[in-house]
Subunit: 434 residues, 2 copies
C-alpha cells in the first residue's frame, strides 16, 4: 500500500483534480512557484521521475490505512480533535464527510469538486484554496480514536464504550515526563504527512473547517523534517541531536515483522480493529543547548552510535549490527550499558519492536533564550501494553539520554483498518460505529 | 546577487563541504533520505537541473545582503535575539563568529570545518550535525539590528547610539493590532530562508548555540510556505486565505524600482546603511475560521481579485492591471473601495511600493478550537517612514481584510549592506561597529 501511483487518477466521485484545474501550462507555473511546491518540482522537471514520485499520490484505500508503513514523507501536520457534541449522528456525519474529503485530497483534488473557486458565489467555498495547483505530494491522512472517544468523564457518549479495546489503555505516568494536558490526548487524531507542508496543513485545515460544531482542534503539531525511514529505499535522516535516527526501525519490507509488531490481528481484541494499529505520540522536548555543550565522546556514549556515520561504536557502517558484548581495551563495553540504542534494542527488550514515524519540530522559543525544539515521536504498534509501555518504562528509567530530553505531550489512539477498494459504505471509523 | 552558483565551491577558509564529507555515493544516499532533502532531490535526480538549482548555494557576498531580492525560498526560520551583555567586544566577537559560520553554512558546509564529527572528541562538536549531507538548499542568512541595539532603557550599551538611523524608528501603534511583546522587536535578527527547513533551522540553531552568554533567542518563527515571489520566474504562491499573494510585488528584475524603494542610498542617512535596507516583520494572525465561513463573493470583494486565477475582478489574467475606475452595471466599482488590493496599491498610496517576502505559518492551536495560523509578513523598504508606516496606517484604518486579521507581532530592523568579495575584515555589522 505504500507504493505511489499516478496522481492523474480520478476518484469514483469524479471532479477536477487540482492539477487539471489549471491545465498543463498552469500546472507548470503553479508547480514552479506555488508555496512549497518549488522545493518539489523547481521548474517543472518533467524529466525527473524521482521528483515526480515525491509529488504523486499514495493510494487512500487498502487493507491498512496509508501513512503507517508508507515511505515516510518529509513534512507532517498532526492534529488532535475534541468532539464537542454528544450526538452520535453528528459524529458519524462528520466522519463520512471527512472520509470523502480525505480521499479527494490525497488525489490532489479540492476537498469538494469545484469547491475552491465556489460552486455558488453566495456560499462559502467548499475548499479553502491554498493548495490549488499543488501536486498530491504523497499526502496520507491517518485517523485514530483516543480513549476519551469511548468514555469521557464516565459517560458513554457515542454508545461505543463496550467496543473500547483493552489495548487502548490510559497510558501510565512514566518517570521524567512533564506533561502538558493541552498538548496531550484527544478524542480523534488525524496524522497528515506530505512532501509539501502546505498540502498537509491544507488537509488538516479543511477537516477542521467542516468539523465546526462537531469537533474542535485540541492541539496541532507541525513537524518540519522526518526522523524515520520506513522503507529500505529511504536513507536515515537526522534528529536535532545531529544523529541519524531510526537505523534499526522496522521497514515496510519486513512484512512478517509488521504482522508481529504493528498490525492488529484477528483475535487480538474487538474485530473492528483487525488490520489496524495503535498510534503513540510523545512530544519530546530536547534540551539542545545542554546537548550542544556536551563533548562528542559523551554524545556518542549516550546514543551508542557514531555521530558522523551512524555506525555502532566500534564499527564502520551504519547498518553493521549493534555489538552489545564486545569490550574495549579498558574493559568497558563498546556500547555503554545506559546507551539509548542498547536500552531501546529488541535484544534488551525481549524482542519488542515498534514502527517509528517521528518528526523534528521547532515551536518558537521557550521564553528562556532557547529554541523550543525537539522530536514529535510517533510509533505504530500492535499492542502498546506489550511494546511501547515496557519500552518506555525501561527508557524513562535508565536511558542516558534522559539528561537531555523531557516528554511534554502524550497520546494513544486506536487506528482502524483501511477502507477497502469499492466499499462505498465504509468511512473512517465505520467498523466501530456502523 | 540572487543567481545561484555551484555549492561545490570552497570558501576562502577551506574545509570539507557537507556534501563532500560523505563522498559522491554518500551524498546520493544522504540526499535521498535525510530529513527534508527528500523533497528536494528524491532519489538523486541528477538529471534535473531545476531540482539541482533549488539545492544550490546563493552567493553570501555582494553589494547587498542575500535573502532580500534572492528568489524567495520555500521555507523560513526567523529569529530575533536579545543581546544579554553590555560588553561591546563580546558582541563584536559574536558577530565575527556568526559571519564566518554563516558564509560556510550557505555553502552547505559545517559551521566550522570538521565540527560536526568533532575536531576533538573531548570537546563539544562545533557543528550540531543535523544538516550533515544536506545540500545548500539556497540558504540565505540576513542580519539586521533593531532600535534597542542602539539604545535600551536610555542606555547606549555599545557606543553606537549616535549611529542609529532616523529611519530606524520605533514603529507607531496602528489600529487593529494586539501586540505580544514576546513576539515583537529584538536587538538583532537573523532571517534564514532555504528550500529545506532542516537547513534553515540548523543555521539558526548554530548561531544561537555560539551566542550563548552574549545573546539569547527572544522569539523564533517557522514559516512553512512562502507567500511571495521576488523574481519574475517564480509563480505566485497562495496564502492561508487561499488567494494568490504578491502578484504586484516588486521583483528582482525591477532594479530601478529596487533602488527607489528598497535599497538605502548614499545620503539617505548614516553611511553605514548605504546599500542596506529596513526589514519590517508583522506576525499576522488570520482568523481562518471566520474567513472560511464567508462567501466566495465576499472573499473576492475583500481582496479585490478572483480566488481561482488571481486576476483582478472583471479581468481574466492574474497579471492584468488592476482596474480601479471601471464600474459594474450596478454602478459599483469592480474593485471595492475597501478592497485590500486597492488600498495597498501604489496608485492609492502615492507611489509607495515595498518588497514583500512573507511566509505562511501554523503554530499549534489558539486554545479555542482553532489553528493558530497566519502570515509572517516580512517587507524590505528603503525608509519605513515614507513607505511601510503610511501604507499600514491606511490599511489598518480602512482595509476590509481587517475583519479577518489581527497583527500580533511587530519589529523593525536595519539591515546593513552586503559584505564585499575579498573583504576579510568585514563582518555582520562591521560598517556600524568598526
Amino acid at each position: 500500500m505504500s507504493s505511489p501511483s499516478s496522481d492523474a487518477a480520478e476518484p469514483a466521485g469524479g471532479g477536477l483534480s487540482r492539477r487539471r484545474l489549471f491545465g498543463a501550462a498552469g500546472v507548470t507555473a503553479a508547480v514552479v512557484g506555488a508555496a512549497g511546491a518549488g522545493a518539489l518540482a523547481g521548474r517543472a522537471s518533467a524529466s525527473s521521475t524521482a521528483t515526480e514520485e515525491l509529488q504523486n499520490s499514495v493510494p487512500f484505500r487498502g487493507e491498512h490505512q496509508a501513512g503507517i508503513v508508507t515511505a515516510a514523507q518529509d513534512r507532517m501536520h498532526f492534529c488532535s480533535f475534541d468532539v464537542t457534541t454528544d450526538d452520535r449522528d453528528d459524529v458519524v456525519a462528520m466522519l463520512k464527510e471527512w472520509t470523502a474529503m480525505a480521499e479527494r485530497l490525497t488525489l490532489a483534488q479540492e476537498a469538494v469538486a469545484g469547491g475552491a473557486v465556489g460552486l455558488n458565489p453566495y456560499a462559502p467555498p467548499a475548499d479553502t484554496g491554498e493548495a490549488l495547483g499543488l501536486p498530491a505530494s504523497q499526502l496520507t491522512l491517518t485517523v485514530g480514536f483516543g480513549p476519551t472517544f469511548f468514555t469521557k468523564d464516565g459517560k458513554d457518549r457515542f454508545g461505543v464504550a463496550d467496543k473500547r479495546p483493552q489495548a487502548l489503555i490510559d497510558l501510565p505516568k512514566f518517570p521524567n515526563e512533564t506533561m502538558d494536558p493541552a498538548r496531550s490526548h484527544g478524542d480523534i487524531c488525524v496524522q497528515a504527512c506530505a512532501n509539501d507542508p502546505q498540502v498537509a496543513v491544507h488537509a488538516i485545515r479543511n477537516l477542521a473547517r467542516v468539523a465546526f460544531g462537531t469537533a474542535a482542534v485540541r492541539y496541532s503539531q507541525l513537524g518540519f523534517g522526518r526522523t524515520s525511514s520506513t522503507t529500505r529505499e529511504q536513507a536515515t535522516p537526522r534528529n536535532l541531536f545531529g544523529f541519524k535516527d531510526g537505523t534499526s526501525n522496522l521497514k515496510a519490507e519486513d512484512t512478517g515483522a509488521l504482522d508481529a509488531h504493528v498490525w492488529v490481528a484477528d483475535g487480538d481484541g474487538p474485530a473492528w480493529m483487525t488490520g489496524g494499529s495503535y498510534l503513540v505520540t510523545r512530544r519530546i522536548r530536547m534540551r539542545i543547548e545542554n546537548w550542544d555543550r556536551t563533548t562528542l565522546m559523551e554524545q556518542e556514549r549516550v546514543i551508542g552510535r557514531l555521530k558522523g556515520s551512524g555506525a555502532p561504536i566500534g564499527y564502520a557502517d551504519e547498518f553493521d549490527a549493534l555489538d552489545f558484548t564486545t569490550k574495549s581495551s579498558k574493559g568497558t563495553p563498546l556500547i555503554d550499558m545506559a546507551a539509548h540504542v542498547r536500552l531501546a534494542s529488541k535484544e534488551n527488550l525481549n524482542g519488542i519492536e515498534i514502527l517509528r514515524r517521528g518528526y523534528n519540530f521547532t515551536d518558537g522559543t521557550d521564553g528562556f533564550g532557547h529554541l523550543d525544539a525537539g522530536l514529535f515521536f510517533i510509533a505504530f504498534v500492535r499492542d502498546p501494553r506489550s511494546s511501547f509501555v515496557p519500552m518506555q518504562m525501561e527508557l524513562s528509567r535508565r536511558d542516558a539520554l534522559n539528561e537531555y530530553i523531557t516528554h511534554t505531550g502524550t497520546a494513544l489512539f486506536a487506528c482502524p483498518p483501511g477502507l477497502r477498494d469499492g466499499d462505498a459504505d465504509a468511512y473512517w471509523g465505520s467498523t466501530l460505529l456502523s
